[in-house]
Amino acid sequence: MVRYLVSFGLFAILVALLAVGLGHDPRRIPSPLIGKPAPQFSLPELAHPERTLSRKDLLGKVTLFNVWASWCVSCRDEMRVLDALAKSGVVPIYGLNYKDHRTAALEWLKAFGNPYVVNAFDQAGRVAINWGVYGVPETFVVDAKGIIRYKQIGPITPYALNRKILPLVRRLQEEARR
């Protein structure tokens, strides 16, 4: 009897696995950069091409690093959440404008709001590749030492902000103060 139950047992395991699988989005690719130092970069600023923004500017404080583009529809949805967050002043938001046109990007900021401390302009998309970006928007939480601690793939929803990002930011700020 037991011998004949083997296939049932294996099948039960299979069903359990599939049930777990239903809860995952197969398109979401976890970043291997979590826990690693944020990649070096040095790019012209979006609004002031003569100035540069680099990794150094992110250090010494917990930051959000948000990758966006004016051609990206869901970035627009995200903007409301980011704007509110910027007004609350909890955490500075740095932007990486990805494969965009400078004028289009600046107009977009005028039209939909500008939550960013400053934006880097990554026209060729090279820096984004170094950060492992595969779709916009994406948002990284970077701690005071410049280590990537979390990556949000897709727009930041209020749920993700309140449940994941803000608690993490507060904890990291605590850590930095100590």
Binding site: S7, F8, V15, L18, V20, G21, L22
Partner: protein, 668 residues
């Protein structure tokens, strides 16, 4: 109005399916003939109502009834009528209706072709099939209704996914589902036999033609799908080990194992409990495939729009159907007694080896398909399992099958003496070895072990199959029989094995001999590949019924003579603006010339991908041979228990000889 009829037909069908699923099973259990008698009429009525629903949906498509949400989402007035028929199963809801309809077709066929079976057995079979119908009809009515109305009614539909606008859509899903769903019949036979407690050789005999029929459709369906992706996707591949492809391939592998194992159970009464388990597996994998395609747990090219709630329903259904079947199996199988004895060298042993290899191969495909899911479920990273994995693991597991298939057909049941067998085999083996090695080295220009093994195996199975048939014909010529009198199941098997050889040869030679070039070409440029000169003549604009296209013209010449003018296209469909490639192909028995158009690269130049693909048609040719073999075998008279009216007096010995005398290595 018509959509409501369809909706109503589905509800009626559900009611009837419930009757079909309960009364006959109870009747067979309690021995109530009246309840048993309900099985046929209920099953027929249920099936007809499901088919009526399918007709209603087709009608809605043909008449552009955009008040039906499913039609509005998947059709358009500009869509040609034959694609509107294909669009009926072009997305989730409709293809589910196709699933149910094909189940109905099989149910109908069972009701008509089962008169010779004991009524209680038929009642159980139809009851089990009824439960499957109940599941799918419930699913459709609860979570995937194709007849849901939409308000306000849109002026026009959102058109069929451009990827699907291909003749393949009209053929591939019905054929594939005929195969996939067809495994429900051997499954129902197996469950009935388990319920009955009489798992015997008769059950195996009854199951054989059904299994072979389902298998032949599945073979055709997979082949058409592969041909379709070859001509549309533009990367010149014919198989990508995509999860959805694997979902149809696993039942095929297990179905193939089942066909062979049924042969042993039928002829020798052996391995009954193993065979019944395979019958359960084959259908379970069909259900698993349905789950994988529709739940969105895996990323795939042709996954349907996904919705986890649907996934939950199918998973629950899968768990109940397969779980109960396996429990029933665990309860009943231990009482089954093994059949006759056999020697180490016998056809039984070889068929067992075939089963072990096929099941290992199916396991490899299953593991590769589900592994990303497993790792993600255990939160240990995310990986991709792609063609390099499958090619590495799958080939060594399956090549021995090709080699053994040739031998197995000539080995006797029960006991085969080694020396006559060797005497029978060595001359062709030497020929194949020499020819295979010589040919491979000439063809590839180098010594590549895997190519040599594959080519030798392919020659081997082709040669021995041909010789087998030839031997029978010769003995017929010498004897009293008409020369073409070869038992159909033998002829079918031999054809299928021959097809396997053709297929392997095609895969190997197309795989190693393909050449490709990715080039930027301006009009007037030419490039040479494999002795052919491809000259880009320029592009023109075209308008199709529901798309605009840029069509390139590429003339191909060889030694100064023009051999082909290819027209690769890049289409933009008007409603869903995604660009589509349509490769320009000139096919031939020994080589395909294939061009696909990329993006313009400025200055009138285009990126273009050019392929020379030798022997690629043999891949599908091989599959055709296999399917043809299946057809011939399924039609063998020995599976028809009724004797044709007006035929010559039935033979005195009703059971066909248990040792169909092979082109006999035993008695030279």
């Amino acid at each position: 109005m018509i959509p409501e009829v369809g909706q109503f037909a589905l509800m009626l069908a559900l009611g009837l399916a419930l009757v079909q699923a309960t009364l006959p099973l109870l009747g067979a259990w309690r021995g109530v003939p009246e309840w048993i008698a309900v099985a046929r009429p209920a099953a027929r009525a249920q099936s007809l109502f499901v088919l009526l629903a399918l007709l209603c949906l087709t009608y809605a498509f043909l008449t552009n009834d955009f008040s039906v949400a499913y039609v509005a989402e998947n059709s358009n007035t500009a869509l040609p009528w034959f694609y509107r028929i294909g669009a009926v199963w072009g997305a989730h809801e409709g293809s589910l209706l196709l699933w149910a309809s094909i189940l109905s077709v099989w149910t109908l066929v069972v009701t008509f072709r089962s008169r010779s079976l004991p009524p209680d057995f038929t009642a159980r079979v139809l009851g089990v099939m009824g439960w499957v119908s109940v599941g799918f009809l419930l699913f459709m009515l609860i979570a995937s209704n194709p007849f849901t109305r939409m308000f306000p009614v849109p002026l026009n539909g959102r058109d069929l996914n451009p990827l699907l606008q291909n003749p393949g859509l009209v053929l591939h899903p019905p054929l594939l589902y005929m195969g996939y769903v067809g495994f429900v019949v051997p499954f129902a036979f197996a469950i009935s036999a388990l319920l009955d407690g009489r798992l015997d050789a008769a059950w195996a005999r009854w199951s054989r033609p059904w299994t072979t029929a389902a298998w032949l459709f599945l073979t055709l369906g997979i082949a058409v799908g592969s041909w379709w992706s070859y001509s549309v996707l533009g990367w010149g591949g014919w198989w990508f080990w995509d999860p959805v492809e694997n979902a149809s391939f696993m039942p095929w592998l297990v179905g193939t194992a089942l066909i062979h194992s049924l042969a042993v159970t039928d002829k020798r009464g052996a391995f009954k409990s193993w065979t019944v388990l395979l019958a359960i597996f084959a259908f379970s994998l069909s259900l698993l495939g349905t789950f994988l395609v529709r739940s969105g747990v895996l990323v795939s090219v042709h996954a349907f729009a996904t919705d986890p709630r649907r996934g939950i329903f199918i998973l629950m259904f899968l768990a109940v159907v397969v779980g109960l079947s396996l429990l029933l199996y665990a309860w009943r199988a231990p009482t089954v007694k093994g059949g006759g004895n056999f020697h180490v060298l016998s056809r039984e042993t070889l068929l067992l080896v075939n089963n072990v290899l096929l099941i290992s191969a199916a396991f490899a495909v299953l593991l590769g398909t589900l592994y990303p899911l497993i790792l993600e479920g255990m939160a240990v990273g995310k990986i991709s399992v792609g063609p390099p994995y499958f090619n590495t693991v799958f080939v060594p597991l399956t090549l021995p099958i090709v080699f053994l298939a040739a031998i197995g057909a000539g080995v006797r049941w029960k006991q085969q003496k080694l020396r006559p067998l060797l005497r029978y085999l060595w001359p062709p083996f030497v020929v194949c070895l020499a020819a295979g090695i010589g040919f491979s080295i000439w063809y590839t220009g180098e010594v590549r072990a895997l190519v040599i093994v594959a080519v030798v195996s392919a020659f081997w199975v082709m040669l021995l199959s041909a010789r087998d048939i030839w031997g029978r014909i010769r003995r017929n010529l010498a004897g009293a029989n008409r020369w073409y009198r070869v038992p159909r199941h033998v002829l079918g098997m031999t054809l299928a094995h021959f097809g396997l050889g053709v297929f392997v040869l095609g895969v190997t030679l197309a795989g190693t001999g393909s050449m490709e070039k990715d080039v930027n070409m301006a009009p007037g440029d030419s490039v040479s590949l494999a002795g052919y000169t491809f000259r880009f003549e320029g592009v023109t604009k075209l308008r199709g019924p529901n798309y605009t296209a840029t069509q390139g013209a590429v003339s191909v010449s060889r030694d100064g003579h023009r051999v082909a003018l290819l027209h690769p296209q890049k289409r933009v469909y008007i409603v869903q603006t995604s660009p589509m490639t349509e490769a320009g192909i000139q096919s031939g028995l020994f080589r395909d010339l294939y061009v696909s158009l990329g993006d313009p690269t400025g200055g009138g130049a285009w990126a273009m991908r050019i392929y020379y693909k030798p022997m690629v048609r043999w891949i599908w040719l091989g599959a055709l041979f296999m399917a043809l073999g299946g057809l011939v075998a399924a039609l063998d008279r020995r599976y028809r228990l009724t004797v044709a009216r007006g035929a010559a007096p039935a033979p005195r010995t009703p059971v066909p000889p248990a040792h169909p005398v092979p082109v006999s290595p035993g008695n030279p």
